[in-house]
């Protein structure tokens, strides 16, 4: 889509705010609708949009596939790691009270923050990886065939 000037300019303007909004949804999920699942998709959308308009090579330069593949696993490991950390301090698996034994709700806040971060990272990774997988194959149709 190299020839679409308007799309390129609009994309450049939009990508930043989309990622910012994704981070807002991620970290404001305790107070308003949203959380890791939605934020992950929104952040992935920013990269997908960039990839569609500027081509895969440009988006690979920002976020290479090997990073995306590791992000997929990293989020799940963070989530499970929180649970194991709780067990190491003598609580049940995923009992966030372990983070602040004297103030249970603070522990819950910390636990939810980390768990949601893990969810967001995995969802972002999977969405971008799936997009890369689809877009990475040579298409059978040219731009004008649509």
């Amino acid at each position: 889509m190299r020839h679409h000037l308007i799309l390129r300019v609009i994309t450049k303007i939009l990508v930043g705010p989309i990622i910012l909004y994704g981070l807002y949804v991620q970290f404001h999920g305790d107070f308003s609708p949203g959380g890791g699942f939605q934020a992950g998709v929104i952040i992935a959308v920013a990269f997908t949009l960039y990839g569609i308009v500027f081509g895969l090579r440009a988006v690979y330069a920002v976020l290479p596939p090997w990073v995306v593949h590791r992000l997929m696993a990293l989020g799940l490991l963070i989530y499970a790691g929180v649970g194991i950390l709780n067990m190491l301090s003598g609580y049940e698996f995923l009992n966030y009270g372990a983070f602040a034994p004297n103030h249970p709700s603070h522990g819950q806040h910390l636990g939810i923050l980390w768990v949601e971060t893990g969810v967001g990272i995995t969802v972002t990774g999977v969405m971008i990886a799936v997009f890369y997988a689809f877009a990475g194959r040579p298409p059978r149709m040219g731009d004008d065939d649509w």
Binding site: G29, D30, F37, A129, A133
Partner: protein, 185 residues
């Protein structure tokens, strides 16, 4: 009253979109209409006060899956082959399945019923105690990430597994694609 009108309008638009989807043959328009369908569903979720679900439906259903469908079209073909076989048997199967599903809903509690199983079990406890125990204003988040944290871990694992599956099936890993090209030529 206003809510009834909104629901009726949204549901009839949903049905009309579904009917239009069935009759289309150009895949590009079908994909776009599928996005419209998702947005309508998201609006219905908003009228049900399920904003978190609406959010997900709009982002995944109307956003990401539309892009993935377009990617699939780019890899395959842009029209579908007209079917040559008679469609009476599939139609019968659809009608019977639909009738069974509607029959199944007869046993379900009425909309907004305070005695519904979903309301009398743990929901009351979550709604009253989560402010004290978790101290997070969004109850959906506290249920999802704390009370039901283990379920959500499973959900994330499912998403991870699905992503790995897609990668294994259609992704071209570095090196692998080139080897295959050589075999082709």
């Amino acid at each position: 009253m206003a809510e009834t009108i909104i629901n009726v309008v949204l549901f009839s638009m949903l049905v009309l979109t579904a009917l239009a989807l069935v009759r289309m043959e150009r895949l590009f328009t079908i994909v776009m209409l599928a996005g419209v369908f998702s947005l309508l569903a998201a609006m219905l979720f908003v009228t049900l006060d399920a904003v978190d679900v609406a959010f997900t439906e709009a982002a995944v259903g109307a956003g990401v899956s539309t892009v993935l469908y377009l990617g699939t079209i780019a890899l395959t073909a842009r029209g579908c082959k007209p079917s040559v076989r008679p469609s009476t048997v599939p139609l019968l199967v659809c009608i019977i399945t639909g009738a069974v599903l509607i029959w199944g809903t007869l046993d379900m509690p009425n909309f907004g019923d305070a005695e519904a199983p979903a309301e009398v079990h743990v929901a009351q406890y979550y709604l009253t105690e989560s402010v004290k125990e978790i101290d997070v204003p969004n109850v959906v988040t506290s249920i999802l990430a704390s009370y039901r944290g283990f379920d959500t871990l499973g959900e994330v694992a499912v998403i991870f597994a699905a992503g790995v599956g897609v990668l294994l099936i259609i992704s071209r890993m570095p090196g692998q694609g080139r080897r295959k090209d050589k075999e082709d030529s």
